[in-house]
């Protein structure tokens, strides 16, 4: 029996049931990335008219923007903290983009927090969503100690600002240590990976 993916609507519904200042882990499969993006950015954040601060450590903000365009998702309220373009030496277009803030390297976790803080302060929307895409990509560049400390400080800070936090974990790349680290700071877990249908 082939695995059935959790739909974008289901993801948005689960997120909508969370109160503001909540943090959720969203465990997904590499195969349902598009559904996750649609569910989180379009059906949840855009529908609630909130700004999304999208921290990308997996693929460049350019590439995610192309995904959003292809899915016909309005990206006018999406602000990127791009941790990957600079080290790929591909930051030239992102440098010109008002919706993108670059972090030189995914190892500069403090700078990542500072850019999120800056965008939160700059945002005019009442509610805000911060997406971390993904903890597994950050784990490639950082050890578990520093990553755990980073998550704790970041999520605590975002809670105090009444922002929603969603942390992506990719089930194919995750480890029990990473899952524990994420569940420690999150109060909701959304399973959007493969399930037996």
């Amino acid at each position: 029996m082939s695995p059935e993916m959790v739909s974008a609507q289901q993801i948005a519904k689960e997120l909508s049931e969370m109160p503001p200042s909540s943090a959720a882990s969203l465990q997904m499969s590499v195969d349902n990335y598009l559904d996750v993006i649609r569910g989180v950015v379009d059906l949840f954040a855009n529908k609630k008219e909130m700004d999304t601060i999208y921290v990308t450590a997996t693929i460049s903000s350019d590439a995610i923007r192309r995904v959003l365009d292809a899915l016909d998702i309005d990206s006018s309220r999406v602000y990127f903290v791009d941790c990957i373009s600079h080290i790929m030496m591909g930051a030239s277009s992102a440098q010109q983009d008002e919706h993108t803030t670059l972090v030189e390297s995914p190892t500069m976790l403090e700078n990542l927090m500072l850019k999120v803080e800056y965008l939160i302060r700059r945002s005019g929307s009442k509610d805000k969503l911060v997406v971390i895409d993904s903890i597994n990509s950050l784990a490639i560049h950082n050890n578990n100690w520093i990553l755990s400390e980073f998550l704790h400080i970041l999520v605590s800070g975002l809670r105090s600002r009444d922002a929603y936090t969603v942390i992506f974990t990719v089930e194919e790349h995750s480890t029990p240590e990473i899952n524990n680290m994420v569940s420690l700071v999150c109060d909701h877990g959304i399973l959007a990976g493969k399930k037996e249908g």
């Binding site: 030189e104 390297s105 190892t107 500069m108 976790l109 403090e110 700078n111 927090m113 500072l114 850019k115 803080e117 800056y118 302060r121 700059r122 950082n142 050890n143 100690w145 520093i146 400390e149 980073f150 400080i153 800070g157």
Partner: protein, 249 residues
């Protein structure tokens, strides 16, 4: 933040992170040495301190020693809260010290004790006349180069601090040190006299260069002594704790 009995009045810097580190701000009338190597954000932080003061209605004075103030204003990060009307209204005043030297006839490369008296009097008279509540000298190190000896430097900073403190003025003296310095000041004197020391630095970690800030001492208040990472943004200087990551270094 509620003031506890016995607490000194605070001069809230307006930098949210720094005020948290200082339990509400710099104790009013303190003289603080803001020190660090080049490119660490000292001037930006000092300017933000003055702009927030001016916005709150406290007359603020920037004494520029190394850079022409017009050029300085062109080069500073465009803080979104900065409004040029603060300058027009006289709430925020920029003075170039080399012009003051010229007016006082201090043309020689080093200053005598009498000239030091004159300089202290000129700066404090200006602060008095402008009813200055916040003052920055950028940089005190450049002034010290004209004083040459430790005795003169000590005398100058002590007298200036006293004069400004008597005016209930909270002051930041910007100091410059070499990147590899283990001292907090170029002459070793400034740090001992100041009421507070805020150290800014560039910290290298696995090839990444992080800007850091640490309050080393601050008389009259409790404060965090931890190291913080900072970013200079259009909404001001932002701070987050330096992540330790289980390291012992």
């Amino acid at each position: 933040m509620a003031q506890k009995a016995g607490d000194r009045d605070r001069c809230a810097t307006g930098l949210e992170g720094l005020d948290t580190i200082l339990y509400g701000g710099i104790p009013r009338s303190n003289t603080v040495l803001l020190t660090g190597s080049c490119g660490t954000g000292k001037t930006s932080l000092a300017l933000e301190f003055l702009i927030h003061g001016a916005i709150k209605g406290e007359n603020s004075l920037f004494v520029s020693v190394t850079e022409n103030s017009d050029k300085l204003l062109q080069n500073i990060i465009p803080y979104s809260f900065f409004d040029r009307s603060l300058i027009k209204s006289g709430k925020l005043v920029f003075v170039d010290l080399p012009i003051l030297y010229e007016r006082l006839g201090m043309t020689k490369p080093d200053l005598s004790m009498e000239e030091i008296d004159l300089l202290v009097a000129a700066i404090s008279d200006l602060a008095k006349e402008l009813e200055t509540k916040r003052l920055v000298i950028d940089s005190i190190t450049s002034v010290c180069y004209k004083l040459k000896t430790s005795e003169k430097i000590r005398d100058f900073i002590l007298r200036l601090s006293k004069a400004l403190s008597d005016l209930n003025c909270t002051s930041i003296l910007v100091g410059e040190v070499a990147a590899d310095s283990t001292s907090y000041s170029s002459f070793g004197v400034e740090e001992a006299i100041a009421d507070g020391i805020i150290l800014m630095a560039n910290m290298e970690r696995r090839g990444d260069l992080l800007r850091t800030l640490q309050v080393i001492k601050m008389r009259g208040t409790m404060h965090s002594r931890a190291k913080y990472v900072l970013d200079i943004t259009p909404v001001g200087v932002l701070l987050v704790p330096l992540l330790k990551g289980g390291s012992t270094g």
